[in-house]
């Protein structure tokens, strides 16, 4: 089936070349970082995780969101998703690949990454995160490929694939829950030490992932003869609307607990993010952008008239994506480190090499996504 990916229009190849170019720049920047160490990033003793881990966290969510297609289609027999469930699974594949790459580029000693498997440590959440991410990657490649191959031959998918599909449902939830545990199980970080971290992660994931998927469906419709259809897109839009509402609601719960309880250490990070703390306010414009965008997106998604207009819907989805990206990426990860354990403030701004490496990883992810989508879409076109 991969042969479908090596025939394509001029535009297709131009896009592929563009992505390869960006990933090439990313690889070169990574070699620079590899040689000089992580000092080429904006990270510091106080903010020891930044842009890379932020992307990782966000993308785990995007990956997990495939379950929002799998559940309706396979568990509730919602046939309309039949056409796009493969797009969700392949999006998950590329998102997990990006996650793994973001962890890799964040490591100080990347050559030793296999130590995680050589010395398995069941009490470390990161060990489990590796297990669930690898498993999820495998499951989605396997399921997506098998189902698509069957479709190509115009036969029903083999029965034995069903258990794997059912397994992928809790597995999707697990990847984002375990990723939330990376943060919510740390005793000294008040911003992260919250039981609703996992629910928050899942809510923002189920908003951002399907939002991206809607945009991808609209793009696929424009560049190919395959039309995912109006109705599945509308159903996805409702999922985004509910999930984004839950996401904003959960965030407001955090605000309530921190400020009504009056416990200063629970307020500091939120204050830093939204008002600035002791004169440090690098992230304030970003966080207000995210907050305002979040409310605009809710208005656009909840009002049926707007949601049903695909142009407005596309804008709403882009806004959801940006808002959740700022909130969960930069805000959550960087905010958790500020103030530091001494209640001092060190701010963080990513550097150029860090940005180039980040773009590089995204480009690799989109390269994988493009190839997989090309295969899926070509097969659909073939079948008419």
């Amino acid at each position: 089936m991969l042969d479908k990916a090596i025939v394509g229009s001029r535009t297709y190849w131009a896009w592929i070349l563009l992505l390869m170019g960006i990933s090439g720049v990313g690889v070169l920047s990574y070699l620079y970082q590899f040689h000089f160490g992580l000092k080429v990033t904006g990270l510091s003793r106080d903010v020891s995780w930044g842009f890379y881990i932020a992307q990782f966290t966000f993308l785990v969510g995007v990956a997990a969101s495939a379950v929002m297609l799998v559940i309706p289609y396979y568990l509730h027999d919602y046939k309309k998703f039949g056409k796009i469930v493969i797009l969700g699974e392949f999006l998950a594949v590329s998102a997990v690949i990006m996650c793994i790459l973001f962890i890799f580029v964040d490591l100080g000693q990347p050559m030793r990454v296999m130590n995680v498997m050589l010395h398995p440590t069941p009490w470390s959440v990161m060990f489990w995160d590796m297990i669930v991410l690898m498993g999820y990657l495998g499951l989605n490649i396997f399921i997506g490929w098998t189902v698509l191959a069957a479709e190509r031959k115009q036969v029903a998918p083999p029965k034995w694939i069903k258990p794997f599909i059912y397994l992928s449902v809790p597995w999707a939830v697990s990847i984002h829950t375990v990723t939330a545990f990376l943060y919510s199980g740390l005793p000294g970080r008040h911003f992260w030490l919250t039981a609703i971290m996992a629910p928050r992660f899942l809510a923002s994931a189920f908003a951002a992932g399907p939002a991206l998927l809607i945009i991808l469906c609209l793009i696929v419709r424009n560049v190919s003869k395959f039309d995912p259809g109006k109705e599945p897109i509308q159903t996805l839009a409702k999922i985004v609307a509910y999930a984004m509402t839950a996401n904003v609601f959960f965030f407001l719960l955090e605000v309530f607990t921190a400020f009504y309880s009056g416990i200063p250490s629970h307020q500091h990070s939120l204050q830093y993010l939204f008002t600035g703390l002791e004169g440090h306010s690098n992230l304030v414009p970003w966080m207000w952008t995210a907050a305002i965008l979040a409310f605009i997106s809710l208005a656009l998604l909840i009002v049926p008239k707007f949601r049903k207009n695909e142009n407005i819907l596309a804008v709403a989805c882009a806004i959801v994506f940006i808002a959740t990206w700022i909130d969960k990426g930069m805000g959550l990860v960087v905010g958790g480190f500020i103030p530091n354990p001494f209640e001092r403030i060190t701010e963080y701004t990513p550097t150029l090499p860090e940005l180039l490496i980040t773009f590089g990883v995204w480009a690799i992810g989109f390269l994988v996504l493009t190839v997989l989508y090309k295969v899926a879409v070509s097969i659909r076109e073939e079948l008419g």
């Binding site: 160490g37 000092k39 003793r45 100080g108 009490w123 005793p187």
Partner: protein, 265 residues
Amino acid sequence: MSMDRREFLKIAGLSTILGGVGGATILGGLRGEDVEASDSSHAHGNRPASTLAMVVDVRKFRNESEYQRCIDACHKVHNVPTIENPKHEVKWLWREDFEHSFPGQGHEFMEEGVEHKDFMLLCNHCEKPACVRVCPTQATFKRKSDGIVMMDYHRCIGCRFCMAACPYGARSFNWQDPRGFISNPNPEFPTRMKGVVEKCNFCAERLRKGLKPACVEACRDNKAMVFGDLEDRNSEVREILRTHYTIQRKPQAGTNPRVFYVIGG
């Protein structure tokens, strides 16, 4: 049955002696005997064979140089690089004022002597270290024989999860090759390489030779830092803990730090 802490410690201490352990383990360690070998034979009940701890008596630090000589002794002997940029700083032993050493524990009408006093901060070698719990490779681990939270620099992958987990900011990452920032290195102790996390090791390499930690040695004239075994009820640290009011950093984190501070009185 109710038992207060004091009673529990009494019984625990007594049973330790009856068990024939006493302070033999740590004394053995200080004399240069094999610490690890004594682990299995001396471990008693749920108590470890020995639990090394530090008491910092901040009253005894009278001026800048008395702090600095401890810090210098530590950083010199362990080849800790001197990096000016605070973002890339590496430190094993350092000073902070009360407000930042014990965030949330001060108040506006505090005794000025304590408020403006600098505290010596270092790895707490916690009983339940969060860093050890999160490390995905066991590159940082708690040594059973004496409770030291160790770093295996050969194994660390540099994920920095431990830095996020440590409630005490005790861990430093090598953002670059540290060698360019070490003048007159100690040839008997390795440096670190770029991309690994490092921290205080309670001078495990000196204990092995029967020496006291370098910082303790540096202030031996005023005994501002005292080191010893908590399992030995006659040890100097136990004596100070018994007779002085001491505090730990962030006890609410549930880690049970093994560094104690005498702050006044």
